[in-house]
Point group: C2
Chain length 244, copies 2
């Protein structure tokens, strides 16, 4: 039997122009940092932006943005609170600081529930912060929101890129559009990842050098926007605004 | 109805003295590097060691160890091949280099299947390389192998440690033993993570400084054993052999 909520999701999302999933397959490559900063930068450029943290078992964009004590309003659905110029949605409104150990079926259920009840309204961009792994959230997203575009984050490490390659292979097989790849936290001078991205036919969007300042900017949006990370993400924002 | 394979798992694992899950909750903190190196070091110290990669959707210990072209033998179950002095088991024997996009239920099923058919024989230590997130593998492991001890890997980043805290909270709630915490890829001089670990009542086992040499040692076990990573992991191996 089809879940009746799935029909509602399309209705809920119809005023959103572009959905961008900041993803990797790999964990710890900086997806949450890139997703949060990208959402902030697009909002500062005058776009209407939503940010939705889909890493349900270990959400962290609320820590990056330094937002606390906010709650969505309920009115025939839930309205995400507006913070730092963004409409912001996270499972932490419900789970708080406790661990959310969720099986895949629960993750699917939470995703469908939150997509079907959240009233985003009109948005130019909805940025999704994806969890690591290639599991239920990715598979459900492809099924439920097939117009999602994927922005791929990797580090310079071959271990990260091996997983990225598999993840991109899956997206291609599923005919999902990939915006391009960002090399984050770069500490070497090698252009190996750039070359490998070219070989896979992926647009290489930006290099973001490792910047020790980023750690101390966690929780402080203004400071974050002054880091080398933000400089790199500005290039990606431009690419997205011009072409996507 | 109870899955009949679950009864077999206990039988299959009965000659294993200690099961150690190298875990974090967070991705990209170096779990696979620590798990692989720990298994190698314990084996070099004369222990009988197994290494089982449980990151089914993005396995990487086979890349770290540089093992390829090996296959388990089948004889009333499957016998993990012995490489570099370890009995080594990975889903890549079956999935190859393709992505394994698995829903949580498939992950559970793969875990139960592999645990019930793998003939480890007598082992002093079975090292488990855990996936990121707090999902099916963690919950199943706690249910199926309740004598598992958890070794926690974090980086110095507050974003990583926030997830680690949640993960450790879950383990405590489930009354699962935690060996201690390792701070990996450290690039600062702060003792903040050490202090926070103390505060949580966690044994702080080792600091592993960031070492650019580790990247070039991926796939080369001998080179790996000469890195700063291996030096840190030796302390953990000693702690495990003496106390656990």
């Amino acid at each position: 039997m089809t879940d009746p909520r799935i029909g509602i999701i399309h209705e809920r999302m119809k005023e959103i122009t572009k959905i961008i999933a900041v993803s990797s397959g790999k964990g710890g490559v900086g997806k949450s940092m890139v997703a949060s900063t990208l959402a902030l930068i697009l909002a500062r450029k005058g776009c209407k932006v939503g940010l939705f943290d889909l890493d349900f078992t270990s959400p962290s964009t609320h820590v990056v943005l330094g937002v606390g004590g906010i709650r969505p309003k309920e009115e025939k659905g839930i309205v995400p609170p507006e913070v730092l110029g963004l409409k912001y949605m996270s499972i932490t409104y419900y789970s708080g600081d406790l661990a959310a150990p969720l099986r895949g079926t629960d993750v699917s259920n939470a995703l469908i529930e939150l997509l079907s009840i959240t009233i985003w309204g009109k948005l130019d961009y909805l940025i999704l912060d994806m969890p690591p792994g290639i599991g239920d959230v990715t598979l459900d997203l492809i099924r439920l929101l097939p117009n999602t575009r994927f922005l791929i984050v990797t580090t310079s490490s071959q271990l990260a890129f091996e997983t990225v390659k598999k993840f991109v292979g899956l997206l291609e097989e599923m005919k999902m559009p990939v915006i391009g790849v960002v090399e984050n936290m770069k500490m070497n001078n090698s252009d190996d990842i750039h070359l490998q991205a070219d070989k896979l036919g992926l647009k290489f969007l930006a290099v973001i050098p490792y910047d020790a300042e980023v750690e101390s900017a966690i929780g402080d949006a203004e400071k974050l926007l002054g880091t080398a990370l933000a400089n790199g993400v500005k290039k990606i924002a431009l690419e997205i605004m011009v072409r996507n």
